[in-house]
Symmetry: C2
Subunit: 342 residues, 2 copies
């Protein structure tokens, strides 16, 4: 059957005192004799008493639980973020309820609903690709409910966001390709409704302009799913149909970069001699493939940790809304490997 947990009542009965006394004794309240405290604590220890967190939550309207809404768990970057979240939450005594949306808006909505019903103290959110309006969050924000957005963030003013510097990561990657002598750099972009995709595309474009080149909008091709298969097909198509062929690819993510690399190899092009490739996220496999893949590394763990710290500070009122600059941006780092150096 259900686990029969020891309650404060059991201790009270055993000791012939009231539950109030037990409660206060356990918490070292004044007004309880040392003798009583000792007896209560001893018995509690002996009976292996553990406070019922549910009852506490009800009483305090606090659950010491935070929710995490994430597009998908099976994703190197997101899993490192989760790891960071979990680490900080655990250290500060909070539980983590996790749901993945599988990039579906309906699941995002229903997840937030059941989480609220479970009285979570706050929530960390990274949007699904489908999410274009933020209504289901904005009314929560308006009520002052603690929300911190990370990575995939909304473009509204009063939201607290933690992101990585996608713009400068993309800028540096593109600049690096230019410095290596690549001239016709294509960009395999992500879904255009995501701010991160926009930022990366903007970094790419600005880097070109900054170095005196004129960006060709046709050289930005959207890879919506972000899988290697998709990118492979798209790249193959580009290599076939474009009149001016790209001599480098800057991909929105590493999977797409690998897809591009495979397509190039299949087309008889050598990487990095004929074509340079740079990815984004620095998945584990980057250093394991041949040629090893240059990539922009995102501090996933730190991002998760930082977002959680801010959220918990908000929850515990250590900071007020607006005290932090609303958006925290963590630095990215371009890791240069073989795929982009000739």
């Amino acid at each position: 059957m259900r686990l029969e947990q020891i309650t404060i009542k059991d201790i009270a009965r055993e000791l012939n005192v009231s539950t109030s006394t037990v409660s206060r004794a356990l918490k070292d309240y004044p007004g309880i004799s040392d003798e009583t405290k000792r007896k209560v604590k001893e018995l509690a220890e002996k009976m292996d008493y553990r406070p019922n967190a549910i009852a506490l939550s009800l009483r305090k309207s606090r659950s010491f639980t935070i929710g995490v809404i994430i597009p998908e768990v099976v994703h190197f970057f997101f899993s490192t973020v989760i790891s960071g979240i979990e680490e900080v939450a655990f250290a500060r005594g909070y539980n983590v309820i996790l749901t993945q949306t599988n990039e579906k808006l309906v699941r995002e909505k229903s997840s937030i609903a059941t989480m609220l019903s479970n009285q979570i103290d706050g929530v960390l959110v990274s949007f699904s690709k489908e999410t274009t309006d933020f209504e289901h969050f904005s009314n929560l924000l308006a009520k002052g409910f603690p929300i911190v957005f990370f990575d995939r963030v909304p473009d509204i003013d009063n939201a607290i966001t933690v992101t990585v510097d996608d713009y400068s990561g993309a800028f540096e990657a593109t600049k690096h390709l230019l410095q290596q002598g690549y001239r016709r750099i294509a960009h395999l972009s992500g879904p255009s409704n995501l701010k991160i995709s926009q930022e990366r595309a903007r970094g790419y474009t600005d880097a070109l302009i900054h170095h005196g080149f004129t960006p060709d909008p046709g050289f930005i091709v959207e890879c919506n799913k972000g899988t290697d298969d998709e990118a492979q097909k798209i790249t193959a198509e580009i290599l076939e149909t474009f009149s001016t062929k790209p001599d480098a690819f800057f991909a929105n993510n590493d999977m797409a970069a690998v897809g591009a690399m495979l397509a190039c190899k299949a087309a008889g092009l050598r990487v990095p001699e004929d074509v340079g490739i740079v990815g984004f996220s620095n998945w584990q496999f980057c250093s394991m493939i041949d040629p090893s893949l240059s990539s922009v590394s995102q501090p996933g763990f730190n991002l998760g940790a930082k977002a959680t710290e801010i959220l918990l500070d908000l929850i515990e009122k250590k900071i007020q809304l607006g005290e932090y600059s609303n958006s925290v941006v963590l630095e990215t780092e371009l890791l240069i490997r073989k795929s982009s150096v000739r």
Copy 2:
């Protein structure tokens, strides 16, 4: 401030009825007039009422939450398992509380403690590498608390376990290497206290015996951490110091396999011509590296899903302890790629 949720009291006050009536009306209990039901439901809808799951948990001693204790999140296999868990739990209306132990026993213990304190209905567990005694679980099991172990499971009779067929995966992998003509196959094993490591080593050994070879215990080398760096060092050492050099490596996991591959390449050996390599887990990168890595794929998603189904069935008393055969074993599949075919 904290989110001011609408309660049934608010609805009751507004409608001049008792909370009991509201509660029953919302649940379509008999004995409530259709008129009242309609009014209550309408107002509940209008006020955006959501039942307080915490209060329900307290009342029912059920939280509709399951706990997941996992060594680490940033791990391809485990993240797919989590995905499977989350999927089934969500579909059946359960929340998932996640904690990672980072392979530490103390965190395993404290995680289970706070989870119990949060009145979880059951728990899914994969052990940390440090865990050698199961006391912190066995007394829970004795009390009939629903626990399902997966992947890294204890070796006790009354525990329900869901695993993949490590033995036959290892057997097939080794057999495949033998069939390709490799004769001096070394095994980079995992921590010997984990049953999965033992099973894989056993499959390896049995395959050798089955094909008429005498296993050399010295050819089983433990890679405790399971990282590519560690495996690279160990493999390099093997290649240097062993009098009979291995001509193939069957690794306990893919990271180790990659490490071995790198070490072989560094030693001037060609893969697969001089040395064959097979990994375990079929991480995403297997098909992306050069040469592509043969590996035993584990059905992570299915494993998570199956374990969760069993757990929820247990919780909901759809099945009794012992009704399932205590251990469910899912099939593995050897995926043959270039690293082991000459």
